[in-house]
Protein backbone atom coordinates (compact mmCIF):
# COMPACT_ATOMS: atom_id res chain seq x y z
CA UNK A 1 0.00 0.00 0.00
CA UNK A 2 1.31 3.47 -0.87
CA UNK A 3 2.97 5.58 1.87
CA UNK A 4 0.16 8.16 1.84
CA UNK A 5 -2.40 5.43 2.51
CA UNK A 6 -0.35 4.23 5.48
CA UNK A 7 -0.34 7.73 6.92
CA UNK A 8 -4.09 8.09 6.42
CA UNK A 9 -4.80 4.72 8.02
CA UNK A 10 -2.46 5.12 10.98
CA UNK A 11 -3.73 8.61 11.64
CA UNK A 12 -7.31 7.34 11.39
CA UNK A 13 -6.56 4.68 14.03
CA UNK A 14 -5.11 7.30 16.37
CA UNK A 15 -8.17 9.50 15.92
CA UNK A 16 -10.37 6.48 16.57
CA UNK A 17 -8.62 5.92 19.91
CA UNK A 18 -8.84 9.61 20.77
CA UNK A 19 -12.52 9.57 19.85
CA UNK A 20 -13.42 6.73 22.19
CA UNK A 21 -11.41 8.40 24.96
CA UNK A 22 -13.64 11.46 24.54
CA UNK A 23 -16.63 9.13 24.53
CA UNK A 24 -15.40 7.67 27.78
CA UNK A 25 -14.98 11.11 29.29
CA UNK A 26 -18.56 11.99 28.34
CA UNK A 27 -19.79 8.71 29.81
CA UNK A 28 -18.14 9.24 33.19
CA UNK A 29 -19.38 12.81 33.53
CA UNK A 30 -22.44 11.91 35.61
CA UNK A 31 -20.98 9.11 37.79
CA UNK A 32 -17.81 11.09 38.56
CA UNK A 33 -19.80 14.33 38.98
CA UNK A 34 -17.63 16.16 36.45
CA UNK A 35 -18.82 19.63 35.47
CA UNK A 36 -21.86 19.52 33.16
CA UNK A 37 -20.05 21.91 30.82
CA UNK A 38 -18.03 19.02 29.36
CA UNK A 39 -20.98 18.23 27.10
CA UNK A 40 -19.17 20.86 25.00
CA UNK A 41 -16.93 17.92 24.04
CA UNK A 42 -19.73 16.02 22.37
CA UNK A 43 -19.35 17.47 18.83
CA UNK A 44 -15.61 16.84 19.10
CA UNK A 45 -16.31 13.25 20.08
CA UNK A 46 -18.39 12.37 17.04
CA UNK A 47 -16.34 14.38 14.56
CA UNK A 48 -13.20 12.62 15.76
CA UNK A 49 -15.14 9.45 15.05
CA UNK A 50 -16.74 10.32 11.70
CA UNK A 51 -14.12 12.63 10.20
CA UNK A 52 -10.91 11.53 11.94
CA UNK A 53 -11.61 7.81 11.78
CA UNK A 54 -14.30 6.92 9.20
CA UNK A 55 -13.73 9.60 6.55
CA UNK A 56 -9.96 9.42 6.86
CA UNK A 57 -9.99 5.62 6.54
CA UNK A 58 -12.10 5.99 3.41
CA UNK A 59 -9.74 8.65 1.98
CA UNK A 60 -6.75 6.36 2.48
CA UNK A 61 -8.37 3.28 0.98
CA UNK A 62 -9.81 5.24 -1.96
CA UNK A 63 -6.37 6.67 -2.76
CA UNK A 64 -4.99 3.16 -2.76
CA UNK A 65 -7.65 1.07 -4.52
CA UNK A 66 -9.66 3.18 -6.94
CA UNK A 67 -9.16 2.63 -10.69
CA UNK A 68 -6.04 4.26 -12.11
CA UNK A 69 -6.38 7.88 -13.16
CA UNK A 70 -3.91 7.43 -16.04
CA UNK A 71 -0.79 5.42 -16.88
CA UNK A 72 1.53 8.24 -15.87
CA UNK A 73 -0.49 9.31 -12.83
CA UNK A 74 -2.23 6.16 -11.54
CA UNK A 75 -3.31 7.85 -8.29
CA UNK A 76 -4.04 11.34 -9.57
CA UNK A 77 -1.85 13.97 -7.96
CA UNK A 78 0.18 12.54 -5.06
CA UNK A 79 1.02 16.07 -3.97
CA UNK A 80 -2.66 17.00 -3.66
CA UNK A 81 -3.15 13.79 -1.72
CA UNK A 82 -0.54 14.86 0.84
CA UNK A 83 -2.05 18.33 1.02
CA UNK A 84 -5.44 16.76 1.83
CA UNK A 85 -3.77 14.70 4.56
CA UNK A 86 -2.17 17.77 6.11
CA UNK A 87 -5.26 19.99 5.91
CA UNK A 88 -7.62 17.37 7.28
CA UNK A 89 -5.45 16.38 10.22
CA UNK A 90 -4.35 19.83 11.28
CA UNK A 91 -7.85 21.21 10.68
CA UNK A 92 -9.47 18.55 12.83
CA UNK A 93 -6.84 18.85 15.56
CA UNK A 94 -7.52 22.58 15.76
CA UNK A 95 -11.20 21.86 16.18
CA UNK A 96 -10.49 19.42 19.00
CA UNK A 97 -8.72 22.19 20.88
CA UNK A 98 -10.75 25.24 19.94
CA UNK A 99 -14.35 24.00 20.05
CA UNK A 100 -14.42 22.94 23.73
CA UNK A 101 -12.19 25.88 24.64
CA UNK A 102 -14.57 28.33 22.99
CA UNK A 103 -17.53 26.76 24.78
CA UNK A 104 -15.85 26.77 28.19
CA UNK A 105 -14.03 30.06 27.99
CA UNK A 106 -14.78 32.18 24.91
CA UNK A 107 -11.86 34.16 23.55
CA UNK A 108 -10.87 35.69 20.26
CA UNK A 109 -8.04 33.22 19.76
CA UNK A 110 -10.51 30.29 19.83
CA UNK A 111 -12.77 32.07 17.35
CA UNK A 112 -9.86 32.37 14.96
CA UNK A 113 -8.79 28.77 15.45
CA UNK A 114 -12.35 27.63 14.74
CA UNK A 115 -12.43 29.69 11.56
CA UNK A 116 -9.05 28.35 10.42
CA UNK A 117 -10.10 24.80 11.28
CA UNK A 118 -13.31 25.21 9.25
CA UNK A 119 -11.45 26.48 6.20
CA UNK A 120 -8.76 23.77 6.40
CA UNK A 121 -11.23 20.89 6.67
CA UNK A 122 -13.35 22.36 3.91
CA UNK A 123 -10.34 22.64 1.61
CA UNK A 124 -9.32 19.08 2.45
CA UNK A 125 -12.77 17.83 1.39
CA UNK A 126 -12.88 19.86 -1.81
CA UNK A 127 -9.36 18.89 -2.89
CA UNK A 128 -10.04 15.23 -2.10
CA UNK A 129 -13.13 15.29 -4.32
CA UNK A 130 -11.33 17.10 -7.14
CA UNK A 131 -8.44 14.64 -7.01
CA UNK A 132 -10.68 11.56 -6.79
CA UNK A 133 -13.48 12.37 -9.25
CA UNK A 134 -11.48 11.33 -12.34
CA UNK A 135 -10.78 7.91 -10.78
CA UNK A 136 -14.44 7.01 -10.38
CA UNK A 137 -14.80 5.16 -13.68
CA UNK A 138 -15.07 1.69 -15.15
CA UNK A 139 -11.40 0.78 -15.32
Amino acid sequence: MPPLTRWFLKSSLLFFILSVLFGLLLAVQTPLKLPASIVAFSPVYFHLFMVGWVAQLIFGVVFWMFPKYSKEKPRGSELLGWIVFGLLNVGLALRVIAEPAQALNPALVWSWLLAVSAVMQWLAGMIFVANTWGRVKER
Binding site: M50, V54, A55, I58, F66, P67, R95, A98, E99, Q102, W110, S111, W112, L113, L114, A115, S117, A118, V119, Q121, W122, G125, M126, F128, V129, T132, W133, V136, K137, E138, R139
Partner: protein, 136 residues
Protein backbone atom coordinates in the same frame (compact mmCIF):
# COMPACT_ATOMS: atom_id res chain seq x y z
CA UNK B 1 -15.91 -0.43 -11.29
CA UNK B 2 -19.54 -1.15 -12.35
CA UNK B 3 -21.97 1.57 -13.42
CA UNK B 4 -24.03 1.60 -10.26
CA UNK B 5 -20.89 1.97 -8.13
CA UNK B 6 -19.91 4.95 -10.25
CA UNK B 7 -23.31 6.49 -9.51
CA UNK B 8 -23.16 5.72 -5.79
CA UNK B 9 -19.63 7.06 -5.43
CA UNK B 10 -20.02 10.18 -7.57
CA UNK B 11 -23.18 10.93 -5.65
CA UNK B 12 -21.28 10.36 -2.36
CA UNK B 13 -18.54 12.76 -3.45
CA UNK B 14 -21.13 15.37 -4.37
CA UNK B 15 -22.69 15.09 -0.90
CA UNK B 16 -19.24 15.34 0.62
CA UNK B 17 -18.94 18.73 -1.05
CA UNK B 18 -22.37 19.82 0.20
CA UNK B 19 -21.96 18.37 3.69
CA UNK B 20 -18.44 19.66 4.33
CA UNK B 21 -19.47 23.07 3.04
CA UNK B 22 -22.38 23.28 5.49
CA UNK B 23 -20.18 21.87 8.28
CA UNK B 24 -17.45 24.40 7.63
CA UNK B 25 -19.98 27.25 7.58
CA UNK B 26 -21.42 26.04 10.89
CA UNK B 27 -17.98 25.73 12.47
CA UNK B 28 -16.92 29.14 11.20
CA UNK B 29 -20.19 30.49 12.56
CA UNK B 30 -19.32 29.02 15.96
CA UNK B 31 -16.15 31.12 15.92
CA UNK B 32 -17.63 34.25 14.38
CA UNK B 33 -21.44 34.16 14.41
CA UNK B 34 -22.35 35.83 11.14
CA UNK B 35 -25.60 34.16 10.16
CA UNK B 36 -27.72 32.57 12.93
CA UNK B 37 -30.02 31.04 10.31
CA UNK B 38 -27.21 28.56 9.58
CA UNK B 39 -28.17 26.54 12.64
CA UNK B 40 -31.37 25.65 10.80
CA UNK B 41 -29.18 23.79 8.31
CA UNK B 42 -27.65 21.48 10.93
CA UNK B 43 -30.04 18.61 10.07
CA UNK B 44 -29.10 19.01 6.39
CA UNK B 45 -25.42 18.81 7.31
CA UNK B 46 -26.03 15.56 9.18
CA UNK B 47 -28.16 14.13 6.36
CA UNK B 48 -25.58 15.00 3.69
CA UNK B 49 -22.54 13.64 5.53
CA UNK B 50 -24.11 10.51 7.00
CA UNK B 51 -26.51 9.20 4.36
CA UNK B 52 -25.24 11.17 1.38
CA UNK B 53 -21.51 10.66 1.81
CA UNK B 54 -20.69 7.83 4.21
CA UNK B 55 -23.56 5.41 3.55
CA UNK B 56 -23.52 5.80 -0.23
CA UNK B 57 -19.76 5.47 -0.45
CA UNK B 58 -19.85 2.21 1.47
CA UNK B 59 -22.72 0.90 -0.65
CA UNK B 60 -20.89 1.76 -3.86
CA UNK B 61 -17.77 -0.04 -2.62
CA UNK B 62 -19.76 -3.08 -1.50
CA UNK B 63 -21.57 -3.37 -4.85
CA UNK B 64 -18.19 -3.21 -6.55
CA UNK B 65 -15.94 -5.54 -4.53
CA UNK B 66 -18.02 -8.16 -2.74
CA UNK B 67 -17.74 -11.67 -4.27
CA UNK B 68 -19.75 -12.12 -7.46
CA UNK B 69 -21.74 -15.16 -8.60
CA UNK B 70 -20.21 -17.73 -10.91
CA UNK B 71 -23.10 -17.46 -13.41
CA UNK B 72 -24.67 -14.39 -15.03
CA UNK B 73 -26.04 -12.10 -13.66
CA UNK B 74 -22.74 -11.97 -11.80
CA UNK B 75 -23.87 -9.23 -9.42
CA UNK B 76 -27.32 -10.72 -8.80
CA UNK B 77 -30.48 -8.67 -9.13
CA UNK B 78 -29.00 -5.26 -9.87
CA UNK B 79 -32.47 -3.71 -10.07
CA UNK B 80 -32.76 -4.00 -6.30
CA UNK B 81 -29.52 -2.11 -5.76
CA UNK B 82 -30.60 0.59 -8.21
CA UNK B 83 -33.81 0.85 -6.22
CA UNK B 84 -31.72 1.50 -3.11
CA UNK B 85 -29.81 4.25 -4.89
CA UNK B 86 -33.04 6.02 -5.81
CA UNK B 87 -34.73 5.53 -2.43
CA UNK B 88 -31.75 6.85 -0.47
CA UNK B 89 -31.38 9.94 -2.63
CA UNK B 90 -35.07 10.75 -2.64
CA UNK B 91 -35.10 10.16 1.12
CA UNK B 92 -32.22 12.56 1.74
CA UNK B 93 -33.91 15.39 -0.12
CA UNK B 94 -37.36 14.84 1.38
CA UNK B 95 -35.74 14.91 4.80
CA UNK B 96 -33.75 18.05 4.00
CA UNK B 97 -36.77 19.85 2.54
CA UNK B 98 -38.75 18.88 5.63
CA UNK B 99 -36.24 20.50 7.96
CA UNK B 100 -35.58 23.85 6.30
CA UNK B 101 -37.72 26.93 6.71
CA UNK B 102 -41.01 26.27 8.41
CA UNK B 103 -40.47 22.58 7.65
CA UNK B 104 -42.84 19.66 7.54
CA UNK B 105 -42.81 16.66 9.82
CA UNK B 106 -44.51 14.68 7.08
CA UNK B 107 -41.69 15.31 4.62
CA UNK B 108 -39.18 14.31 7.28
CA UNK B 109 -41.12 11.15 8.03
CA UNK B 110 -41.53 10.23 4.36
CA UNK B 111 -37.84 10.85 3.82
CA UNK B 112 -36.94 8.60 6.73
CA UNK B 113 -39.24 5.87 5.43
CA UNK B 114 -37.64 6.07 1.97
CA UNK B 115 -34.17 5.80 3.51
CA UNK B 116 -35.17 2.88 5.71
CA UNK B 117 -36.74 1.06 2.75
CA UNK B 118 -33.63 1.69 0.69
CA UNK B 119 -31.51 0.12 3.38
CA UNK B 120 -33.76 -2.93 3.76
CA UNK B 121 -33.72 -3.44 -0.01
CA UNK B 122 -29.93 -3.16 0.00
CA UNK B 123 -29.59 -5.74 2.77
CA UNK B 124 -31.83 -8.14 0.81
CA UNK B 125 -29.79 -7.49 -2.33
CA UNK B 126 -26.39 -7.89 -0.68
CA UNK B 127 -27.16 -10.87 1.54
CA UNK B 128 -26.36 -13.66 -0.99
CA UNK B 129 -23.16 -11.89 -2.10
CA UNK B 130 -21.69 -12.31 1.37
CA UNK B 131 -20.06 -15.68 0.73
CA UNK B 132 -16.74 -17.36 -0.06
CA UNK B 133 -15.10 -16.18 -3.27
CA UNK B 134 -15.29 -19.55 -5.03
CA UNK B 135 -18.81 -20.39 -3.83
CA UNK B 136 -21.61 -20.23 -6.43
Amino acid sequence: MPRLSIWFIRSALTYLVLGFTLGALLLFNKGFPFYPFLWGLLPSHVEFVLFGWTVQLVMGMAFWILPRFSKSPFRGNEKLAWGTFILINVGIWLHVLGTIGSGSQWLVLTGRVAEALGIVVFAVYLWPRIKGVGAP
